[in-house]
């Protein structure tokens, strides 16, 4: 901005401010003029006119020059060069406020949707909807939780049942000879250098032990179970088809105070064996391991009826 032109601007500005009616009138003139001669030169741009208005500052002069001032020229004059007048400053302040509001509004609208600018009734509606939704979700959560606890207890039950079933399977495996067993019992060692012991003696021994409560029996390395059979062979005894030679070591799991007397009773197993020129030696032990196993056989036809 040139300082020389300053007074002129102010003058013109004052002129504008104090005589709006006149200006409007002049504007009408302007329109008519435009209508008659649309090619009115826009050439002598804003500057000469400003100076003229500044110099005369009179209504008559303005009326003389005004027809040349079109809206476009006023716009140009207003835009350039920038003038530091009070009107400009006030307008700038208001436009600053407007821009601020615009920016804030645009930002809040794009920031968090409609919630910030929403009115009370909308907010109440949204809140109600949210309440309903959270209620529904709470219900759903409760249902899922009860379902989960149900599943947990039922899976606990299933695990317990599985545990018990395994336990039972192990016990039955001990009886069936498919599981190794361990516990208190006795070891009966039959030494038979003369080959006097035959299958019936061993069978008697096993029967006697069973009657005394033996739970797991193993002769040498053959497990004795319910279906075990004894046959004589040339040099010894076959148990379940396995050749077994003396000395026969019978490991028995059961209650030792029951088992030992059962073998030693007069006319019992030990005396019978001694009659056959064999020696029978019974040793009690708190830890007998019966680890000879029988192969597990799936029944071909029988199925559990449960």
């Amino acid at each position: 901005m040139s300082s020389g032109r300053e007074p002129g601007m102010t003058e013109e500005h004052h002129h504008h401010r104090h005589e709006p009616k006149h200006e409007r009138h002049e504007h009408r003139h302007d329109h008519k003029h435009d209508g008659r001669a649309p090619q009115e030169p826009a050439g002598p741009a804003a500057e000469p006119e400003d100076e003229a208005a500044g110099a005369s500052a009179g209504p008559a002069a303005a009326q003389d020059k005004a027809p040349a001032v079109t809206g476009r020229q006023r716009l140009k004059a207003g835009l350039w060069p920038p003038r530091l007048t009070r009107a400009q400053l006030i307008v700038a302040l208001l436009l600053f406020v407007l821009g601020l509001g615009l920016a804030i509004q645009v930002r809040t609208t794009s920031d968090n949707g409609t919630l910030r600018g929403a009115r009370q009734e909308d907010l109440v509606r949204i809140l109600t909807e949210l309440d309903n939704r959270s209620q529904r979700l709470q219900d759903e959560k409760r249902g899922l939780e009860s379902q989960r606890s149900e599943l947990e207890t039922s899976s606990d039950q299933a695990a317990e049942a599985l545990k018990q079933t395994r336990q039972k399977a192990r016990e039955l495996g001990v009886l069936a000879g498919t599981e190794a067993a361990q516990g208190p019992g006795i070891t009966l060692t039959i030494t038979d250098p003369h080959g006097g012991v035959e299958s019936d003696s061993l069978l008697d021994t096993v029967q006697e032990l069973r009657a005394a409560g033996a739970e797991a029996i193993q002769i040498n390395n053959v497990r004795v179970v319910a279906g075990t059979y004894f046959t004589d062979s040339g040099s010894g005894v076959r148990i379940d088809g396995h050749q077994v030679a003396q000395p026969y070591v019978v490991k028995v799991i059961g209650n030792p105070p029951d088992l030992e007397p059962a073998l030693n009773i007069p006319g019992g197993v030990v005396q019978t064996l001694e009659k056959e020129q064999a020696t029978a030696d019974v040793v009690r032990s708190q830890k007998i391991t019966v680890d000879a196993l029988r192969p597990q056989k799936q029944p071909d036809y029988a199925r559990s009826s449960q």
Partner: protein, 110 residues
């Protein structure tokens, strides 16, 4: 020119500083902005017509903003806030359009 600069600076400051509007004033901000836009367009038209007066502009700007916010506030109190704000926006929109048409006639002579 300085006025245009003011607008630009206002937008930039609003975007950069991110001032917090008091929550009580928030529902009226969009209406106030539209009313201010109407005042600005009216002022621009007056400038092109050569009848621009800064006092008139200031008064019209402020009264536009206040009246628009007041109408919406009243509507909210009466339970017809949404309808009234729509009405205000429609009226101001029509005014903005007519002012824009006048400005266009000045600037493009068409």
């Amino acid at each position: 020119m300085i006025a245009v600069l003011g607008l630009v600076v206002g937008v930039v400051v609003g975007l950069v500083v991110r001032p917090v509007v008091p929550s009580g004033f928030e529902p009226y901000l969009p209406i106030a902005v539209v009313a201010a836009l109407d005042a600005v367009f009216g002022g621009l038209r007056a400038m092109l017509d050569g009848i621009f007066d800064d006092k008139v502009f200031v008064v019209s700007f402020l009264s536009n903003v206040v009246v628009a916010a007041l109408i919406v506030f009243l509507g909210d109190k009466l339970g017809v806030g949404a309808q009234l704000s729509t009405g205000v926006v429609v009226v101001l929109g029509i005014r903005i359009f007519s002012n824009a048409a006048a400005i266009r006639r000045h600037v493009f002579r068409a």
